[in-house]
């Protein structure tokens, strides 16, 4: 019979071997000021992503970055391909958010001078008008509610009225549309702000942009929240699993060793991403946090299967050494542990190879996490349970011996 538990020190050593490099690269993140180690996407750092297609051929990344530098925008450009179209993907600091005029005062004053300007000149309201073209009251009339003015129809209005309604009837919308931008802008290119400056500079150099594939901008508030959220989710997830395992197995040691195995898996995944981030610039984003939590939930699946069997075998094989029981349980369940993970990895691998680009790192994180979770369930969680059990056995015997010699 294969003795996994007896070789547990080798597996501890192996776990250290795979976690320590990852830990070093994770620690590199703050030490190198973000140049090495984990690479955070704009979800964490705030920033703007803009993916566009140029009508007259795709420029090189160097050319685009030159324009960006001229605009004073740090960041990188990359070429992405979808079908037969090449896109330019620009990542830079957060510039894409709409800037609203700050008019926080909820109670505007009634000075005549205020009639037009303050909010108006820079106000985006002007560009919002087309939708308002259908507004009522081309020639509405106000009557005192109590008075019995019979049918205040537009036709009854005095002389200035028809002229107003006439000019309104001339078709208000075409005359409104030109004011924000003289040219048609069906693809939603920016017309104001720094992103628009960048757009115009790029268009001057490389010709018109005819498609915006994606645009995203994350402000500092959202990114700071995500970082807090990630930590909160991780802590709550771990406590939840510890509590659940301890409750279901009525054994704190089982909860705790499952938790250690789980932390091991998290370190492996984050470590791999730190290494890949350093080597190839692979970024972690908001979905990575989700993947981590999924791994937390999933990593204990195999641990539970083994522990459940340990619980069953302890009753059946009472009196046998704990290490033998655990080893026996492991061997009984190892096939199904591998198979359950295998099916999950099958679907994830399909997603990894054929799925959408934007979830590739998310899926990769889960694949690594589930492989590590299966390994740690078999070789770490159960082994730690035995180590812990033997420690407390020894301690009890020492105390027992101490009492007897006294």
């Amino acid at each position: 019979m294969f003795d996994i538990i007896g070789k547990r020190r080798w597996f501890y050593a192996f776990s250290l071997l795979i976690t320590i490099p990852g830990l070093i690269f994770i620690l590199l993140t703050p030490l190198s000021g973000g140049k090495a180690g984990l690479q955070f996407s704009i979800d964490f750092t705030g920033g703007t992503v803009w993916e566009i297609h140029f009508k007259d051929g795709t420029p090189t990344t160097a050319q685009v970055q030159e324009i960006m530098a001229e605009q004073g925008l740090p960041g990188v450009a990359a070429i992405t391909t979808a079908g037969d179209r090449d896109y330019v993907l620009i990542r830079t600091i957060q510039i894409g958010l709409a800037e609203f005029p700050a008019t926080p005062s909820p109670l505007p004053s009634i000075t005549p001078a205020a009639s037009g300007s303050p909010g108006a000149s820079g106000s985006p309201g002007a560009s919002g008008t087309p939708g308002a073209s259908g507004t009522p009251g081309a020639s509405a009339s106000a009557t005192p509610a109590p008075s019995a003015t019979p049918s205040p129809t537009p036709s009854a209005s005095p002389s200035p009225q028809p002229s107003a309604s006439a000019s309104a009837g001339v078709s208000p919308s075409p005359s409104v549309a030109p004011s924000p931008s003289p040219t048609a802008n069906p693809i939603g290119l920016p017309t104001e702000g720094r992103l628009a400056d960048l757009r115009f500079a790029l268009e001057d150099a490389f010709g018109p942009i005819d498609e915006v594939r994606q645009e995203a901008s994350i402000g500092p508030i959202i990114s700071a929240e995500l970082a807090q959220q990630a930590v909160l989710l991780f802590v709550l997830g771990s406590i939840g699993i510890l509590g659940w395992m301890t409750f279901r197995f009525a054994d704190f040691r089982m909860g705790m060793t499952a938790l250690v195995a789980l932390v091991h898996d998290i370190i492996v995944v984050v470590g791999v991403f730190a290494i890949l981030g350093t080597v190839s610039g692979l970024q972690i984003d908001a979905l990575f946090v989700t993947a981590m939590l999924t791994v937390i939930g999933f990593s204990v699946h195999d641990t539970i299967v083994v522990f459940d069997r340990v619980r069953e075998n302890r009753i059946r094989h009472a009196g046998e050494p704990f290490a033998a029981i655990v080893n026996h349980s492991l061997l009984q369940t190892v096939g199904r542990s591998l198979n359950t993970s295998l099916t999950t990895i099958m679907v994830l691998t399909a997603l990894l190879l054929f799925g959408a680009d934007s979830i590739r790192s998310f899926v990769l994180a889960m694949v690594i996490g589930i492989i590590s979770g299966t390994y740690s369930s078999i070789f770490n969680a159960s082994a730690l349970l035995v180590t812990w059990h033997e420690w407390s056995e020894e301690r009890r015997q020492r105390e027992f011996a101490a009492v007897r010699t006294r």
């Binding site: 002229s163 901008s217 989700t290 299967v305 994830l348 997603l351």
Partner: protein, 448 residues
């Protein structure tokens, strides 16, 4: 219970198929809405903006204030006539706006973000021609008073039965308006939102006492309601700022959707092949259970409805990979029980009963983490978590109902009683005989 279970399974399955494929109306919907699959913005393209209500005069926005802002923004977006915009409050000071398939994003964003300033503006007769609804108000015209002097506005009708807006002013507003009306009887004034003329009624009285009725050219109730909204909520109670924004083009969304469906189909096919090769007859049962599972879960997504994002589709595919786990645990246990000498029937029962603990505990751990994600996560994360929770719950349901019922049914068929069908050796395989059962029990106790 046992007698009814097959009926329940069949009924649920048929209902799921109907919901998945038949064009049904959503229950309790008025007006009737068809049940459909909701795709997230990342799969159908569109824009999503998150806005934060800024504190006004040092005081954070109240729950009611936030709800008001939400209503105003929703009304503003509805002006664009886009299909199914979603405007939701989130947390204590956030508004999330999601608009599928919109292209004039600059205008939409500008409209959402405008603080909204409502003014009642003088219109001297000589200038009346320059005051046109839908057009900017000339900047030199004086403001009579601002939107804060409006107490309330409501839709109504004139005595002649025409559509109208009833307007109530505050005491201060009433005084200012009467003062103006007395001097400018028969002239127009303009109701101006963000410097755009909303309406330019003619003053038909000299004394209003704070009660006025605007009537005339309303051609639809929607126009009335819009003016009411402008008068009531024209100005946002708090200024807002855009804190995140993203836009996905419909073609990119379609790309993502096609890729995900292809990847999901390949992944699930791989699982099927594995289950059939490795578990034989029970593998067939597992595959049927998986198809049933997918149909039911998809029906739930359509019924609830759950908005499927890219991450949600990934969660669904992942949940299929996890849904077979329960079957694997049961079949492995069944194999083990067969080898220990149990008869086929009792081995399957024992397989289900003994594996249930592990299945329940491990699925619960997934539900715990997914619930934490759902409760504390942001919108994208919540979509993923909800799909995962539904998937895990349903996978437990199909494992203990459908898989079990089918296996019970199958093992009583004479043709199904072959060792090879269950992946065990001939000598490990016992079909129900009393002697074999006794031997099995003895052997089991001997092994202990």
């Amino acid at each position: 219970m046992r007698r009814f279970l097959p009926l329940v399974i069949i009924a649920v399955g048929l209902a799921a198929i109907a919901i998945d494929f038949a064009p049904l109306d959503r229950p309790f919907s008025d007006p009737a809405v068809k049940i459909d699959t909701r795709l997230g913005l990342d799969l159908q393209g569109g824009l999503r903006g998150e806005y934060r209500a800024l504190p006004a005069n040092g005081v954070g926005v109240s729950t009611d204030g936030l709800a008001n802002i939400r209503t105003i923004i929703e009304n503003r977006i509805n002006q664009f006539g886009v299909a199914e915009p979603i405007v939701q409050t989130q947390g204590s000071d956030r508004i999330v706006v999601e608009i599928p398939g919109v292209t004039n994003e600059q205008e939409v964003r500008a409209l959402i973000g405008s603080t909204g300033r409502l003014d009642f503006v003088e219109v001297p007769p000589a200038r009346a021609s320059s005051v046109v609804p839908g057009q900017p108000i000339p900047a030199d015209l004086a403001v009579i008073f601002s939107g804060d002097k409006v107490k309330s506005a409501a839709p109504g009708f004139t005595d002649a039965g025409l559509r109208a807006v009833n307007l109530t002013l505050t005491d201060e507003g009433a005084r200012l308006f009467d003062q103006y009306a007395a001097a400018h009887y028969g002239e127009q004034f303009a109701i101006v939102l963000d410097n755009i003329v909303e309406s330019a009624p003619v003053i038909r009285a000299t004394r209003f006492g704070g009660q006025a009725q605007i009537s005339g050219s309303f051609t639809s109730q929607a126009e009335v309601n819009q003016l009411v909204t402008v008068l009531n909520y024209g100005a946002l109670p708090n200024a807002i700022e855009e804190v995140s924004f993203s836009k996905i083009s419909p073609t990119l969304g379609l790309n993502f959707l096609q890729q995900s469906l292809l990847a999901g189909a390949i992944g699930i096919a791989l699982v099927f092949v594995f289950m059939l090769l490795h578990y034989r007859l029970p593998g067939v049962v597992a595959c049927i259970a998986l198809i049933y599972y997918a149909l039911v879960v998809y029906a739930i997504f359509r019924l609830v409805p759950v908005t499927l994002t890219l991450a949600g589709v990934a969660a669904f595919v992942l949940s299929v990979g996890m849904a077979v786990d329960a079957n694997i645990l049961i079949f492995e246990r069944t194999k083990e029980e067969l080898r220990s000498g149990k008869t086929l029937v009792s081995a399957i029962e024992a397989g289900f009963n003994r594996a249930w603990n592990s299945i329940f505990d491990s699925n619960m751990s997934s539900i715990i983490t997914a619930s934490i994600l759902f409760y504390f996560g942001s919108a994208t994360i919540r979509g993923f978590a909800l799909v995962l929770i539904i998937g895990v719950l349903m996978s437990m349901f199909t494992a203990v109902t459908l898989s079990r019922q089918m296996l019970r049914l199958v093992v009583h068929q004479p043709w199904a009683r072959k060792a090879a069908y269950y992946g065990v050796a001939e000598d490990e395989f016992t079909v129900a005989t009393p002697i074999a059962r006794a031997r099995g029990a003895r052997e089991a106790s001997a092994r202990v």
